[in-house]
């Protein structure tokens, strides 16, 4: 299983490698299969509209560790979906986690949402700085 962010990072790395090659040896040496170009562009287009675009390796690792630390015992796929969606309110979280209300209390839900929010915040600060 890969998270959206890992896929995005991998494709960007591949693209960068091709770009370096163009710079080193000229475009003719760096020809790549057409179908690869198409799918890489489309996947980047899609992932740019998701939460993955704002994630960093550090923030992602921290979020996974924080979720693992909490006594709530999330399944692996639930953590993966939280990573991919970064739910902002209870309704959004409820969709991702089965039987949310019977497993977690109100406070625990708020705490989980806070954890997710704190993992996404660095990027938001960054935006305001740039803007």
């Amino acid at each position: 299983m890969l998270s959206n962010y890992e896929v995005l990072a991998h494709i960007q790395e591949v693209k960068q490698r091709y770009r370096n090659q163009v710079a080193d040896q000229g475009p003719a040496a760096a020809m790549k299969p057409g179908n690869l170009e198409t799918v890489m562009k489309e996947v980047i287009d899609y992932l740019s509209t998701t939460a993955a675009i704002a994630q960093t390796p550090e923030a992602t690792t921290k979020l996974v560790e924080d979720l693992a630390k909490s006594p709530l015992q999330f399944e692996k796929i639930e953590v993966l979906m939280i990573l991919n969606h970064l739910p902002k309110n209870e309704t959004e979280l409820d969709v991702l986690i089965e039987e949310l209300e019977s497993r977690l209390s109100e406070e625990q839900i708020t705490k989980v949402l806070d954890t997710i929010l704190s993992a996404t915040r660095p990027k938001a600060d960054h935006d305001t700085l740039e803007g």
Binding site: L2, V7, L36, M81, T91, V95
Partner: protein, 194 residues
């Protein structure tokens, strides 16, 4: 939504590719063969992830091609059942809603899997969800929509001997990989609603 799949395959490098490094040549060959294609019962391949093992190159007699056995991993688009994904509404019909991603078009939300109280508006050609409070919420075209994966369907498009084909209709290519999704739980549906 994405998984890694391990495959092994015999890759042939032609003499015209001898100018590039072997690794690069292998990657190009594997990507050319698999990228953006559906493997039956595996999913839609995005691209090569890494190469795990490769044998010595063997040159066959007659041609100058180098044959190498390679073991590698691919990034594959294969959402699991129950996963929640966000896509865009491509179009709506009385039967349901077609959803697409930038790289994958075959997602369908049948009308039975939509919210209770959803009706199709023939004038506007959109689905409308009439909530219990009397609000009307529209599944507009191009809106981002969140849905749950319910079923997946693989269709084997292996070519059939023309003499054995029953009719012309069989010759039509069906999408090799299709996802059926649902949208009847609060939190699902158009993203901006929640």
């Amino acid at each position: 939504m994405f998984i890694l799949t391990r495959l092994s395959d015999l890759v042939t490098i032609q003499p015209t590719s001898f100018t590039v490094t072997t690794r690069q040549a292998l990657e190009d060959q594997i990507n050319a063969r698999y990228a953006n294609k559906v493997i039956h019962k595996v999913g839609l391949v995005i691209c090569l992830y890494d190469i795990l093992k490769s044998s010595d190159g063997l040159i066959g007699s007659g041609t100058g091609d180098v044959n190498i056995n390679v073991e590698f991993r691919l990034i594959v688009f294969r959402p699991f059942k129950g996963e929640v994904i966000t896509g865009r509404i491509a179009n709506s019909t009385p039967n349901g809603i077609h959803v697409r991603f930038d790289f994958f078009d075959e997602v369908f939300l049948p009308k039975d899997y939509l919210f209770e109280g959803s009706v199709f508006d023939h004038n506007e050609q959109v689905w409308v969800w009439r909530t219990e409070d009397g609000d009307e919420l529209f599944f507009d075209k191009n809106e981002s929509v969140r849905f749950r994966v319910e079923e997946e369907e693989f269709i084997d498009n292996t070519p059939v001997d023309p003499a054995l084909r029953d009719s012309l209709a069989d010759a039509d290519m069906k999408p090799p990989y299709k996802i059926i999704g649902s949208c009847y739980q609060s939190g699902l549906g158009v993203v901006s609603w929640w």
